[in-house]
């Protein structure tokens, strides 16, 4: 009998999963339906470049349906709730969609309203985020006019998408004001709730060194309790205050609203508890999740979603054929870290191995944890790879879901 696979979310994870599954399963074997609330697929890594005039929003947005293979149904509607016991999804247009397999790929949403004062006075005037297309464009105009003062770059709390992006923003801001020859009039400060520049020890140390070299002050363990846009200050829960002329922050993230409205599906923050290795959710054996929507202890990033997608596809097929699931995902993640002046770093890690220096994917590959032009070119090329190889679900030779250890240097303990 023909099965129906419903995929909630037509972003990075949903699109890749749909395309990969369409290639694996015949049209008379399975119907594949992708649901999304809009038809704008944003290449999210591109948002970082918009505030600096290095990219425009229209260059990083494409229609969602165009990224899907033939014989995949795209339906524009918002999911209202998942009824796990009935294997049905309720949609905002009133439709009820039964499924044999459900894939949760609705990513995260920003919840700036959860931080006191963040969306009050000064929001999009001197308090910005570049994590939305609109916010990135508004910030671009503000930076254009900025001719001196203190800029605080901040993330309110983890988890956030692309946890390295706020640091990249700080690096690029240093470059941007040097290009404009007013760097000496701009004080740059990076304020994070973490106890270092980044989450993982070796990378954190190197990145802290880069901040210092670029003259960017680092303030750690700063947990924002309140944003006072009128008084131009950030107030931490422990009472510390930071003045700013311009604040660039990353608001808190939560899962999609329907997750919270679906009993048994998500946790308190709306993320979906998911098996670390199989990508099956804890909620039901025929419900899978990937990408930013999960609660997995790895980065919320496109590379993670890509590696997860390979295992997820395999396991959906195995579930349909009654085979045992593959425990294949190891938490593999990698990302380029743009550091300005046409250079970038690359980090590669998984659940157990933190980012280490060396080369990727083998000893002759791109340098890891070290600034290089090659990595910057890699970062720029990646947008092409994203639209033309990752989303269509083509394999990239030499880059698999498991993290390679060859080429990595173990720290001398």
């Amino acid at each position: 009998m023909k099965k129906r696979i419903v995929i909630l979310g037509g972003g990075t994870g949903g699109t890749m999963a749909a395309n990969r599954l369409r290639r694996r399963l015949d049209v008379d074997e399975a119907e594949i339906v992708v649901i999304d609330r809009d038809d704008a697929h944003v290449y999210q890594p591109g948002l970082l470049f918009v505030p600096f005039g290095l990219s425009r929003v229209e260059d990083i947005v494409r229609p969602r349906w165009e990224q899907l293979r033939d014989d995949i149904v795209f339906h524009e509607a918002e999911a209202e709730a998942v009824w796990l016991e009935r294997n049905e999804v309720l949609l905002s247009d009133g439709a009820v969609l039964p499924y044999d397999v459900l894939i949760i790929a609705t990513g995260v949403r920003l919840v700036p309203q959860e931080t006191e004062g963040l969306t009050a006075e000064g929001w999009n005037e001197r308090v910005f985020t570049f994590y939305t297309p609109d916010g990135a464009e508004q910030l671009q105009r503000a930076l254009d006019w900025f001719d001196g003062g203190r800029i605080v770059v901040n993330l309110i709390d983890m988890p956030i998408k692309c946890p390295i992006a706020p640091l990249e923003f700080a690096f690029l801001a240093d470059w941007y004001f040097r290009e404009r020859r007013i760097r000496e009039r701009v004080e740059l400060l990076f304020a994070t709730p973490l106890d270092g520049a980044f989450t993982k020890p070796v990378a954190s140390e190197r990145l802290a060194g880069l901040l210092e070299a670029k003259g960017i002050d680092l303030v750690t363990e700063f947990n924002v309790g309140e944003v006072d846009g009128g008084g131009r200050k950030l107030i931490a829960y422990d009472g510390r205050e930071l003045d700013f002329d311009l604040l660039v922050t990353v608001p808190l993230h939560s899962g999609a609203p329907y997750v919270e409205r679906s009993p048994g599906l998500g946790d308190a923050l709306g993320f979906v508890p998911t098996d670390l290795q199989t990508l099956q959710t804890n909620a039901a054996s025929n419900v899978f999740a990937l990408g930013d929507a999960t609660d997995l202890p790895t980065s919320k990033a496109g590379s993670v979603t890509h590696f997860e997608g390979e295992i997820l596809t395999e396991n959906v097929v195995r579930l349909l054929t009654g085979d045992e699931l593959e425990r294949g995902y190891d938490g593999h993640a990698n990302c380029f870290i743009e550091t300005g002046f046409d250079k970038a770093l690359l980090i590669d890690f998984n659940y157990d191995t933190e980012p280490l220096p060396g080369h990727f994917p083998g000893t002759l590959g791109l340098p890891l944890l070290r600034e290089s032009r090659l990595n910057h070119i890699g970062k720029l090329m990646f947008q092409w790879v994203y639209w033309h190889a990752l989303l269509p679900g083509r394999e990239i030779p030499g880059i698999g879901p498991s993290m390679p250890l060859s080429g990595k240097q173990r720290a001398n303990v």
């Binding site: 988890p159 973490l194 989450t199 829960y237 923050l269 202890p297 790895t298």
Partner: protein, 112 residues
């Protein structure tokens, strides 16, 4: 301070040696008891644990023992019944970290 000194151990009334890491987190949660909790709280500048402290500490510990990971400060604020502002009054600086330390569970891994 040498590395040796940082590897602190704590002796309880029952003469059980509790193994801890360099930052003072209990390595084996089953070695923990309430006397140890009070001791760790004192070590970190606390003066006696109130019912509100215990509510948070027990919530953290139970969550860790059932799910294998300690909740973040945000979920603590949403689920423990103690608002984040109060959490910072009860456990100054880092509530999730300090409550985990007092509750005898490993340092919360935070996020990646």
């Amino acid at each position: 301070v040498t590395k040796e000194d940082e590897m602190t151990t704590l002796l309880t009334a029952d003469a059980v040696v509790v193994e801890r890491d360099a930052e003072g987190f209990v390595l084996r949660p089953e070695q923990w008891n309430e006397t140890i909790a009070e001791g760790i709280a004192r070590e970190n500048g606390g003066s006696g644990l109130t019912d509100r402290h215990w509510l948070v500490v027990r919530f953290m510990r139970e969550r860790y023992l059932t799910t294998g990971s300690a909740p973040s400060i945000r979920s603590l604020g949403k689920e423990s019944g103690v608002p984040i502002k109060e959490l910072y009054q009860l456990f100054p600086k880092g509530p999730a970290k300090l409550a985990a330390k007092i509750g005898g569970i490993p340092k919360p891994r935070g996020c990646i």
